[in-house]
Structure formats: C-alpha cells, structure tokens
C-alpha cells in the first residue's frame, strides 16, 4: 500500500505532488482546528451552564426559605414552579432539615444520594450523561440585636435540589462543532483553491518548458521557450534557448560538412570511374599503337605498296588521337583536386568518428583509440582524408555485421614510423579477408558487398597516393582486417 503510494507520487507531476501535499496538510489543519475550537467553545459553554445551574439553585434555595419556615406546601409549590419555569430544569424538590421531602415537581428520576465532592462546582452534587443534580442549603440569617458587634447568625432550615438537563447544552455544543467545522472546511477549501491557483502559476511555466523540451527532442530545430515567472525560471529558459541555439548551429555545421563530403565523394566516384575506364582503354590503345608501329617498320623493309603503310599510319594516328582524348579527360578530372593544409590526424579521426557516431552506435561497434600524443602534423586535404577514413569506418561496420555484437571493436592507432612517416592503423574484428581476395580489394570495381560499386578502396588508395602516401591492408582471415594508412610528415618535392 505504502509502496504503491510512493510509486504513484514518484510518477505523477510536480504540480500534482504539491497539490497532494498541500491538500493533506490543509485537511489535517482544518480537522485539528475544528476539533480544538469546538472543544474550547464547549468548555466555555459548559462552564456557563454550570454557573447558570448554581445561580438557579441558589435562587431556588432563597425562595424556599419561607416554605420551609412554615412548612407550607403552597409556598413550596410556588417556589418550585418559579424554578421549573426554566425549561432546562426538569425536576426540583425541597427537603427539610431532617431530609424529608416537603415538595417535589414532576418526577423524572430518583435523586441521587451519593455525595461526591465536585471539583467543578461546590453546589453540583451529582452528574450523569443527561443531567446535573444541584443542591443548595436553605438558610436564614437573623440579626442579633443588642450586641456590640453586629453578627449574622445563620440557621439551616433544609435544602433544595434541582435537576438540570444537559440536552440544550449538547445541542449548543453540537451546533458549535458543526458551525466551526463548516467554517474550517470552507476556509480550507478557499485556501486550497487559492493555493491551487498559486501552484498552477508556479508550475505551469515548468510544464510548458517540459513540453517544449519534449517537442525539441522529437523534431529538433527552431524551438524556443518564452517563460514568465520567477528568476530561476527565467534563467532556466535562457539557458535552454542558448543550448538549443548551440545545438542547432552544430547540427547545421555537421550537415554542411556531410553535404560537402557527399559532394566530394560523388565527384571522386565519377572521376575514379572515368579514370578507371581511361586507364583500361589506354593500355590496349598503347599496344595497338606499338603493334602497328612494328608492322609499319617491317613493311617498309619488305617493299610493299606505300598505300598500305599510309593506311596503317592513319590507323596509328587515330589511336594516338584517342589516347590524346583520354589524357585530356584525365587532366580535366584531376584539375584543382587538392587543398592541402597541415592537419592533426588524431583530431581528424575524432571528427570522422563524430560524423559516423550514429552508425557506429546503431551497429553497436565499440571504438578504441590508441593515439600517439604530439603526433606530427601532415599536409593533407582534409576532406579527402576524411573521406578515406569514413570509407574505412563504413567498411569495418559492414564487415562486423556478421560477428556477434559484443565482439565488434574498431581500433584506431596513430604512430610515427621512422623519421618522416606517420601511420594510421584502422583495425576491425570482422571476419577478415581471405588470401585470394587480399590482392584484389584495391582494384576498381571489385566488391564483396551486395550493394557496392567496389570503388571505395580504389579511390582511397589513389587519394593517398596523390598525398605521397600508401594504403595497405593486413588481414588475418577469421580474426579481422587492419588497414594501414601511411602519410609523409614533410611533403616531398
């Protein structure tokens, strides 16, 4: 039960929690106040009633003096009727000195004989759930004549008793309790409503804030909070807006960077394809040119018709022309390729990992970095080297899909090799590459992937070569692959 309540409280909103707390507090205060006030008021009223009873019985005693002196029943009746005229007095009686009943009004219950000293009032003889029984002595005082000192001589004639009903007192007490409780509850409700309003004012900015944050989480950009309220809330909203702004800027930057990379990647792909085709065409063209050249030389020596030689030379010229076109195409593709600047490879790797963070997370690949501190800078085109690294990361992710999640580890290691070369080792724990394929992986259009063009590594290799470096692979079939990127510290030439 208790744990259920705590769980409910933990799950519900801040405002709800505060409401519950305030309500419980108010309820307790109202109950305590009502009971306390009623008790105090009842005490006061009860005391008043006792005093009322005392004065009644005393008055009754005074009125009964004559009746007792003369033992007159008429007088007794008169005195009694005076006192029973009070509605609360249910029963009254006059006794003489010998404890004999002189007169009694209506008999409701027997007089209680037990004499108990009451601390509340000296005249209160007995009290039960419904009645107070008062008693008072009937005395007369005589004035003693002729004595130097005037002294009253008191003589007891008898006593009177009366029974005062508590019904009215109870009714009054009940009325007091009801009205006080009603007042307290009404005040409590009013207070509760006021507090609710206050709470709403206090917590609604928080709720707005929470909703905005939720929206920001769901679909990101452009959300700002505009909160009014306490100083802390203003500070919080300001901090949130600043944070959102920073996040958006970062996202824009990353997107731009990715777009740039994609653009370069496309250009590179097209370029590499053209390059590959050009290279493949160039070799047979070369062979054609030289075969024809050899034929022409031989034919010249054999004294054949010059027309044949002329035609063969035309063929040769055409092949050379085709070769020329290919070279022009290659030169065009190569134009303005590199924008080299000194780069820290460690920082560059970190940037690449940031770019592929999501994919690595998704593929549950653990990334391990073994960086050499103070790694010398290399002069490279940042975008191009990033592309190579991204390609290697992508290959590693693809390769490791076939191994169990726990074993997917991608390790980056940087080191200096010799005086003027740094190495970047990228190792995965994929299945590795079999020996018969290892030599082919850098060939253009070679791929083991179902959806791949097979030019990633070929492009990477040619990019690295234009940087004066090398891209090689070591593979342990069954245990993983390691790609080694070598880059010169000082650029040659």
């Amino acid at each position: 039960m208790f744990s259920q309540i705590t769980r409910y409280l933990a799950q519900t909103s801040f405002r709800h929690q505060l409401s519950i707390l305030v309500f419980t507090g108010l309820f307790a205060v109202v109950i305590v106040a009502a009971i306390g006030a009623s008790w105090v008021a009842s005490r006061v009223v009860a005391k008043d009633y006792l005093q009322h009873g005392e004065s009644l019985v005393q008055a009754f005693a005074k009125q009964s003096a004559l009746a007792l002196l003369y033992a007159s029943e008429n007088s007794a009746k008169e005195a009694t009727s005076m006192v029973t005229a009070f509605h609360d007095v249910k029963q009254a009686a006059i006794f003489n000195e010998k404890d004999e009943l002189l007169f009694q009004s209506a008999h409701i219950q027997a007089w209680n004989k037990s004499k108990k000293e009451s601390s509340v009032s000296p005249l209160l003889e007995f009290e039960d759930g419904g009645f107070w029984q008062f008693t008072a002595p009937v005395v007369v005082s005589f004035e003693k004549d002729g004595l130097a000192e005037t002294q009253n001589k008191v003589s007891k004639l008898g006593f009177v008793k009366l029974l005062l009903s508590k019904t009215k007192l109870f009714r009054i007490q009940k009325q007091i309790f009801v009205s006080i409780t009603f007042l307290a509850i009404a005040t409590g409700i009013l207070l509760f409503i006021a507090l609710q309003w206050l709470l709403k004012r206090m917590t609604s900015p928080l709720q707005t804030f929470a909703e905005t944050m939720h929206q920001a989480e769901a679909h990101g950009a452009g959300l700002r909070v505009d909160l009014s309220g306490s100083k802390e809330l203003l500070q919080m909203s300001k901090a949130f807006n600043t944070m959102m702004h920073a996040l958006e800027e970062r996202e824009i930057k990353i997107k731009q960077h990715q777009a740039q990379l994609a653009h370069v990647s496309r250009l590179k792909t097209v370029g590499e394809m053209a390059s590959g085709i050009a290279h493949e065409l160039n070799q047979p063209l070369t062979a054609m040119v030289h075969y024809i050249g050899g034929c022409v030389e031989r034919l010249k020596q054999e004294n054949v018709s010059p027309q044949i030689i002329e035609v063969m030379l035309r063929v040769n010229a055409l092949a050379e022309h085709a070769g020329d076109i290919i070279h022009r195409l290659k030169n065009f593709l190569r134009k303005g390729e590199l924008r080299k600047e000194p780069m820290d490879m460690n920082a560059l790797i970190r940037e690449v990992l940031k770019l592929s963070e999501l994919e690595l997370l998704e593929a549950k690949v653990e990334v391990i970095l073994h960086f050499l501190d103070k790694l010398p800078k290399v002069n490279v085109d940042k975008i191009h080297i990033e592309q190579i690294l991204l390609n290697l990361v992508q290959n590693a992710i693809d390769a490791m899909r076939s191994v169990e999640e726990k074993a997917r580890k991608l390790t980056f290691e940087t080191l200096v090799d010799g005086e003027n070369v740094i190495k970047v080792l990228v190792s995965d724990t994929g299945p590795g590459i079999s020996d018969d394929l290892v030599d082919k992986i850098f060939d253009p259009f070679f791929t083991t992937k179902e959806s791949g063009m097979g030019i990633g590594l070929s492009i990477s290799s040619s990019i690295i070569e234009t940087h004066g470096g090398k891209l090689t692979v070591e593979s342990n079939f069954g245990f993983g692959s390691r790609f080694i990127l070598t880059l010169p510290i000082k650029e040659e030439v």
């Binding site: 070799q283 063209l285 030289h290 050249g293 030439v493």
Partner: protein, 131 residues
C-alpha cells in the same frame, strides 16, 4: 646494331608484347619483365642497353626501381606511364630519367628516345672503359 638490349618493364603483357614487336622491328634485342623486382633479378646489363619502365606496377614500381637501379648501374631510363602528373615527372627527372613519356606514345618519339638512350649508354661505357 645487334648487341644493344632494350629492357621493357611493364605489368601489362599486351603492352610489353607490342613494345617488343615495335622495338625489334628496328633491330634491337628486347627483354621484357612484369615488374621491377623481376627485372633486377633477371637483367645482366652486358653491352649497351636502356630500360623502358612503367611507373605503376605491383611488387616494385618504376620510381622505386629507378632508386634501386642507381645503386647498381647507371643505364638510361625512359619512363612510360598511363598517368603522368607533374610531381611524379619531376621526381623521375630528378632521379636522372632520360625521358618521361605518357601512353600511348608516338612510335617515332619512342624510337628516337631509345636511339638517343642507347647511344648515350654506348658513350658512357666507352668513357668508363677508357678511364
């Protein structure tokens, strides 16, 4: 003519075959090798000679071969490449290459270069013999 040897080092068999066919037609002997390492192992360098090297080859490329060759013998070198970029050419020429030609090269240009290289090697041999 008769003893002069032209070494052709290229990984593409059609290219080496066609080059042999052309160069033999003007009377030189031709030896072909698929890469730099095979060339270093196989060639004897007896008599006047020159080498036609491809730049990109597996195992040992042309530029690396040039470095290695320098330690052994100073024969004239003609580079033949599919893609001649400027840094590569500069490097080759600095290393002492006679020519840096791009494929497909004009037959006359190539044969002229070979003739020049062979006579240069003859001269060098003659000088080192007289010294």
């Amino acid at each position: 003519m008769g003893d002069e040897i032209v070494y052709v080092v290229d990984d593409n068999e059609e290219v080496t075959n066609s080059l042999s066919w052309l160069i033999e037609s003007v009377g030189y002997h031709v030896e072909t090798y698929p890469n730099g390492l095979a060339f270093l192992k196989g060639a004897k360098f007896e008599g006047p000679c020159c080498a036609i090297l491809d730049v990109r080859m597996p195992v040992m490329g042309g530029l690396e071969l040039q470095e290695k060759l320098k330690e052994k013998i100073a024969i004239p070198i003609i580079f033949l490449t599919g893609h001649g970029d400027i840094p590569m050419t500069v490097r080759a020429m600095k290393g002492g290459a006679n020519e840096f030609l791009t494929k497909p090269v004009n037959n006359k240009t190539l044969l002229d270069s070979i003739n020049k290289a062979i006579s240069q090697d003859k001269e060098r041999r003659f000088q080192s013999a007289t010294l």
